[in-house]
Symmetry: C2
């Protein structure tokens, strides 16, 4: 009965606490801007304890992206998301980015890793590509159905529009980091104005 899956909402184990903190630092400061020492100090353990769970920073980084990919798939297939009409699915997507903004203006995973992409371990690069591809495919489908059923309006192909919208949202969070929340709100307002029929 020591399976962590049965601990419900109890305190997470060290393995998860490491991943949570690493995610926070990644999204707030960048992948090359935190070390095992930072993690260890803040978690009250020794750096070697982090190496025990994630032997190298490559492993840790890859686990981070893999978890986010799992979350995406889970979120996308949730009844409260999958069963919505397209315009509401688009709003649900915007709510995710708005939530990032509310959490100390965290950028999204893609926005955090894209610039440093070439310094990332290959496994992490591959996972990030998959993550972005699946998210884009999901939104392209939402847009296609939304235009067909009249809830969403745009020109061009759904795939092109999906790529454009997602990149814009990632960039809007980056703009919020560099300036303040205003550019994010302005850009998301512009997206809504153009897309919602």
């Amino acid at each position: 009965m020591s399976n962590p899956a049965h601990q419900a909402a109890l305190a997470p184990d060290t393995r998860t606490r490491i991943l949570d903190l690493a995610e926070t630092l990644l999204l707030e400061r960048g992948f090359n801007a935190f070390s095992y020492q930072h993690l260890a100090k803040e978690l009250g353990v020794k750096p070697a304890a982090i190496h025990y769970h994630y032997p190298s920073k490559d492993d840790l980084g890859t686990a981070l992206v893999t978890r986010q990919l799992r979350r995406l798939r889970k979120w996308r297939d949730l009844p409260r998301v999958a069963d919505l009409p397209p315009a509401a699915q688009f709003e649900a997507l915007l709510a995710v980015y708005d939530n990032h903004l509310g959490h100390d203006r965290r950028v999204c995973l893609f926005g955090a890793l894209a610039a440093d992409f070439r310094t990332l371990p290959p496994a992490m690069q591959a996972e990030l590509r998959t993550f972005n591809r699946e998210l884009t495919e999901w939104l392209a489908q939402v847009l296609a159905v939304g235009r067909a059923t009249g809830g969403l309006r745009f020109v061009g192909s759904p795939a092109a529009k999906a790529a454009q919208v997602l990149i814009t949202l990632a960039g809007a969070l980056q703009a919020a980091r560099v300036h303040d929340e205003t550019p994010f709100q302005v850009i998301v307002g512009q997206l809504r104005l153009e897309l919602l029929a």
Copy 2:
């Protein structure tokens, strides 16, 4: 007569070579992913020579952004840019990003620094804000005139559209880095389709 300004197209001095290489590394790998040692080794000088010209990495980083800001102002005011009709000015902007793509898929300055923004020296943060603000203001003006004279088409305020377009272009270069040139071409194609009347 040893003033570097008189050397015309001759070999640049060490000071400029440092800045050029640092810019390349910044745009290709990120600000926290290169060191004075990297610079020194590639330039064939000792690390202390870099410190002589740019005492700290903060100074180097700030000089990088300051130079880019100078370039923006110069480019914007160039007769061959300033005298163009708005739609052609927009195309001139796209050509700049296309040029980044052609140079080993370099991201733009904003896209390179936004994620790591909180780890940057304050002077660098301030310069980047100014850079982004001036670029956005320039494009907003182009868009306003373009819509008034019929060459460009969009809904909403010119300022909002300018912010959205620039962030999209920055993001398109990041997408090209993560995947390949395709998403960049797709996204820029979408922008053209929507904006050009």
